[in-house]
Symmetry: C2
Subunit: 276 residues, 2 copies
């Protein structure tokens, strides 16, 4: 969730967390990160979001934030331990960075500098460390703008995606970077607000009653959370930057890759070493 | 708290958190970190540990851990925001590192490499980043042993302490490093266990009823938490490494500094630049 004004996520999280065992089987741990400016509260548990007392706290304690990333895990690689629970956290340029991945990368074992080292053994945390390593490689310790970060992610993400499914959300508290190779949806709620009804739970909220005209919220999710709102699905290879509760920039990385490949046929079969 | 076996901290935290507004005035935010192997759950709030729903969860949800660091803040430098709430977290060598500071450093503004950058504006987080920077300076990206880390901290900590009061606890999940210039106490609870009664709350636990002979717990705290146990106070400049619920190594950094100063009188007035 990326918002123009600090907003609580209790409505969406109530529906979302049902998927951790009730309406879906993503019950191998959960996590949720709430930014407050450059800092971040991260709640993680290796219990499911249905059973965890920490998830229960999050459903009932309206923490207001402009950038929130939540994840319910269905383990594909790595044990069900705390160190493998998304989202992952690292500090760079005096800000926390938060990353959650949906998908599965195979044999993704890039060389890392040591600046960011995985704590657990998931493909996802390796990908996160690799992205941040690449950002430092490009910008050193001088903080770039959000658009400069986007430009680097736009180059790197399709290379990682060659190893498998790579849908992710990444935030540094300023903006939310999102990328999809197979499945991600988004919508923006803004004035005039309407009522929304969850898919996973019999709950409806009339946002016109709880918002002001200054509020604006973008919600990005694997599968739509509500049944009566217009969700837009990401195209394969689409990257969207959200800031202030709306898309600020789009990129289509797969088209560009295809174009590059058409111009330079030898690019089609790049070796593992070249991919980094 | 540093333990031989995963132990919950609910007893100690109940008493400790009273000091966030009831029995003392450390009510400017709180935080608590629970290691599970190399990973860590960190709960922070800018509300006091008396009022925060997150603190209420921690008092009632028995999270078992071998290394826990908790902090209740009385703001001396930096606003009461999330980014200034201890303990602080950073990843190094594929482990989380957690740091909490009691005290006040004046004009402590060391040059930092950028590898670890403060998110907030406390003297404490700067000191943490500086310690980790120095560890990387010494060991690069090859993880040293706990004793090697201790040896570097033993050299650096008294230099930081020249800027003010520097009582801290630092853990990477393997061990707990502690240092005091003015105030810190410790005790070890082990077989045969006895009953302990909190100072701040009318609560007693008979540990012999809830432990096995394999359990052993070291508790390190600014002020003693119980009224009927034997707490040992740190001497000024004392550093203690705890592992498996007991002290593994002691060092007296002030004595060594005094000895050095006696041998080399010119060391007494080292310049700011030399201190780093």
């Amino acid at each position: 969730m990326n918002c123009a004004t600090p907003t609580d996520i209790t409505f969406s999280f109530k529906g979302f967390s049902q998927r951790a065992g009730i309406t879906s089987d993503h019950s191998d741990g959960f996590g949720i990160a709430f930014f407050e400016d450059k800092a971040c509260r991260l709640f993680v548990d290796n219990q499911s979001a249905v059973e965890s007392p920490i998830a229960e706290l999050v459903r009932n304690y309206p923490i207001k934030s402009r950038n929130v990333i939540a994840h319910i895990r269905k383990a594909t690689q790595g044990k069900i331990t705390l160190e493998n629970s998304h989202p992952f956290i690292r500090e760079l340029w005096g800000r926390q960075w938060i990353f959650a991945h949906n998908g599965d990368l195979h044999h993704f074992d890039p060389p890392l500098t040591g600046r960011f080292t995985p704590i657990g053994n998931t493909d996802s945390e390796r990908a996160f460390c690799y992205l941040l390593d690449q950002l430092v490689e490009h910008f050193g310790y001088t903080e770039p703008s959000v658009l400069q970060v986007f430009a680097v992610l736009e180059q790197i993400s399709p290379k990682v995606a060659e190893f498998g499914t790579f849908n992710y959300c990444l935030s540094n508290g300023q903006a939310l970077f999102s990328y999809a190779t197979t499945k991600l949806h988004w919508l923006v709620r803004e004035y005039p607000f309407k009522a929304a009804r969850l898919i996973d739970l019999d709950v409806e909220v009339d946002f016109s009653q709880v918002t002001t005209s200054h509020d604006r919220v973008a919600v990005i999710t694997t599968e739509p959370l509500t049944q009566n709102e217009q969700w837009t699905s990401y195209q394969a290879g689409e990257m969207i930057l959200f800031q202030d509760g709306k898309p600020l920039k789009h990129a289509q990385t797969h088209v560009e890759r295809l174009e590059r490949e058409l111009k330079n046929p030898e690019l089609k079969r790049i070796t593992r070493a070249d991919q980094y």
